[in-house]
């Protein structure tokens, strides 16, 4: 389950930020997971509790922010919204959609003290 590795990266990002920015407790984590990203929100939540044990984010609340998938349809010459990688263009049915958004996975923001 690669979500475990991804959540360990979240912990590392938080601990690096704590060393740089002098905080000792994380209250909230806003984690962006695009709808087209390769991580499942539920699996990330499951890993969160395990990975954050004994860390400064042990008591933190995890807020997952979903961003919609979008892509460029060369056939329609416009940006369209899609919710899965295999979805065709909703306007013309073309499958050759170039993904332009909604595939990010990042720690957006922390509430710390």
């Amino acid at each position: 389950m690669h979500e475990m590795s991804l959540m360990e990266n979240v912990r590392q990002i938080i601990e690096d930020a704590a060393a740089e920015q002098q905080f000792s407790r994380v209250k909230t984590i806003w984690l962006e997971l695009g709808e087209l990203s390769c991580a499942e929100p539920e699996a990330m939540r499951f890993c969160f509790d395990v990975v954050m044990q004994h860390s400064i984010a042990q008591q933190a609340r995890l807020e997952i922010v979903r961003t919609p998938g979008s892509g460029w349809c060369a056939n329609c010459s416009r940006t369209v919204t899609i919710s899965a990688l295999y979805e065709p263009c909703p306007a013309c049915g073309n499958h050759a959609i170039n993904i332009t958004g909604g595939d990010a996975m990042r720690v957006r923001e922390l509430e710390v003290e």
Binding site: E8, N9, A18, H54, R108, E113
Partner: protein, 276 residues
């Protein structure tokens, strides 16, 4: 994941040994020191120094990509390959698609034309590395323990054990898994996904992340097509639906069908790398 601190690497073995911590990888059990500014030992109190006031809660904007660290290490691997004109491929698939057989046949065909080295990724055992060595190529086995994919740090550690010659072809066989390895760049020139005809033609739709991440698809075990219900054209159409830029070869590594095209593609890729 280890139970000491939660790090993923506790069971990582390279050629059966625990890797040395290196600058390019995260040390095991690494945790940065917790700030001790609020910890005052009673016998060390200086009456002139007051403890710092506790800071109020505040919000920090980070926008930090989860894969940034891996991507940095992959870029370092890529630089090393470029400096030595090495062609690196990352081979990914489900377990049992025929990756190791494909590597053995590829090595047997090309070993007199170019130096070939292999990094093998599996959760357990050295069986694959032994097959590769028997075929005539040096191989390093990474055992990921419970890990489900290779990452750029593991490959960097494995490379330290391989005497990589200039102009080599480096074949990295990832852990058999059609999901997790999709997200982790190893520094390769191309990601090659192997789909075998015994798996079902709808795999590209079921595991789109991998087929989107790949540059090349090898449809393997095509010699079995007369005996099974598998629509090869449909499988390829599904794969191209996910990734229109995918380059597709239909092969049988065991019987040799389609292998000349794959080998010619490898030769021309290596020639381009050598000339670059």
């Amino acid at each position: 994941m280890c139970t000491t601190c939660g790090c993923a690497n506790s069971q990582l073995l390279i050629n059966g040994r625990k890797p040395r911590a290196s600058a390019s990888s995260m040390p095991l059990h690494f945790r940065p020191p917790v700030s001790n500014q609020n910890i005052i030992k009673l016998n060390q109190i200086d009456k002139n120094v007051l403890p710092p006031p506790s800071l109020p809660a505040r919000r920090l904007r980070l926008e930090h990509d989860l894969l940034a660290k891996n991507d940095q290490l992959a870029a370092a691997n890529r630089q090393q390959y470029a400096a030595q004109h090495i062609t690196a491929l990352n081979l990914v698939s489900s377990p049992g698609s025929g990756k190791t057989t494909l590597l053995v046949k590829t090595i047997e065909s090309l070993r007199n034309e170019m130096p070939i080295v292999v990094i093998e990724g599996d959760q357990q055992t050295e069986l694959d590395a032994k097959r590769i060595r028997a075929a005539g190529a040096p191989a390093v086995q990474i055992n990921t323990g419970k890990g489900c994919h290779l990452d750029a740090a593991m490959v960097a550690q494995a490379m330290q054990q391989l005497q990589l010659q200039t102009h080599s072809l480096l074949l990295i066989e990832n852990v058999g898994n059609l999901v997790c390895p999709a997200a982790f760049d190893l520094g390769e020139a191309y990601k090659v996904v192997i789909l075998s005809v015994t798996e079902g033609e709808d795999k590209p739709l079921k595991y789109p992340d991998m087929f989107r991440a790949a540059d090349v698809m090898l449809l393997n075990k095509c010699d079995l097509l007369p005996y099974i219900e598998f629509d090869a054209e449909l499988a390829i159409r599904y794969a191209l639906q996910i990734n229109p830029a995918l380059k597709v070869f239909s092969i049988s590594a065991t019987r040799g069908n389609g292998m000349p095209d794959w080998l010619d593609w490898l030769r021309s890729l290596c020639a381009q790398t050598v000339a670059s």
